[in-house]
Amino acid sequence: MLAKNVTATLVIRALRGDPDSFTKLVQAHLRAAYSVALAILGRPADAEDIAQDSFLIAFERLDTCREPERFAGWLLQIVRNQARNALVSRRLRDVPAQENSEELSSTSPMPDSSTFRSQLLAALNVLSPVRREVLLLHDLEGWTHLEIANALELSELMSRQHLFLARRELRERLDYKVSEVDHA
């Protein structure tokens, strides 16, 4: 994650129309946007679409970002809203694609169930959305608890607790198949 003052500078330059600043802001925050969207939607393809749309919306409304140094939190709120809207639309449509339903359901027959990715997605789906967000932002995106707390408007303690419980639930679900890496 970029330093707050660097982020603020990039936002201000982007407001002036500097193309490089747009690119740097996307580079720095796309994975986080994707992680939050994935935590809500549970489908990588949908999460990628929502992350893209959210960036375009955010850049159109960039002048309403009152605290440029808190761009990440502001952006992730847009991602969350977009993802929730998409989730509602998806439930209304109620037409799960074969590929996507595999990703969401751990009990459905999955021709691709042997792949670790499918197992991981199915196990993640059991967690609560906030635990998924914390887990993905911490263990996939590499954010610190302070960064997560700021972006998700939680306390650091809650972030730690969510992460602990999310990891425990995930390990139980995956029956310890997940490989572990040491703390960075």
Partner: protein, 114 residues
């Protein structure tokens, strides 16, 4: 107690670095293009024209409806006046002597419509 990081790299969207970089470039390019489009004179005019046209349509609708209603009210009043004049003329031509109640009824209706 298991509290070490879980390896979620299987879900990492940036595993295919080339594709990921293309995605980043594409989002940034689209954002810049949209921003440039927003700054054009045409877009500015369009963005102003929409609310102005909506407001104009509302004003026309409100005043148009009011004018139509008042026009139909005027037509009804004119028709009643004509009927009264016709009845009075008929009495005069035929040299009739209508009952007081009839006169009051005809003229009373006219007074009511005033």
């Amino acid at each position: 107690m298991h509290d070490s990081r879980i390896n979620l790299s299987a879900l990492d969207p940036a595993q295919d670095a080339e594709r990921w970089n293309q995605l980043v470039e594409s989002i940034a390019a689209r954002a810049v293009a949209r921003r440039k489009q927003r700054l054009t004179v045409g877009y500015q005019l369009l963005s102003w024209a929409r609310p102005v046209l909506a407001m104009a349509a509302t004003v026309i609708f409100v005043f148009g409806t009011k004018a139509l209603l008042s026009h139909s009210e005027r037509s009804v009043m004119a028709k009643k006046r004509f009927e009264t004049a016709y009845v009075l003329a008929k009495w005069a031509n035929n040299d009739e002597r209508p009952a007081t109640s009839n006169i009051l009824q005809v003229l009373g209706e006219q007074n009511v419509t005033k």
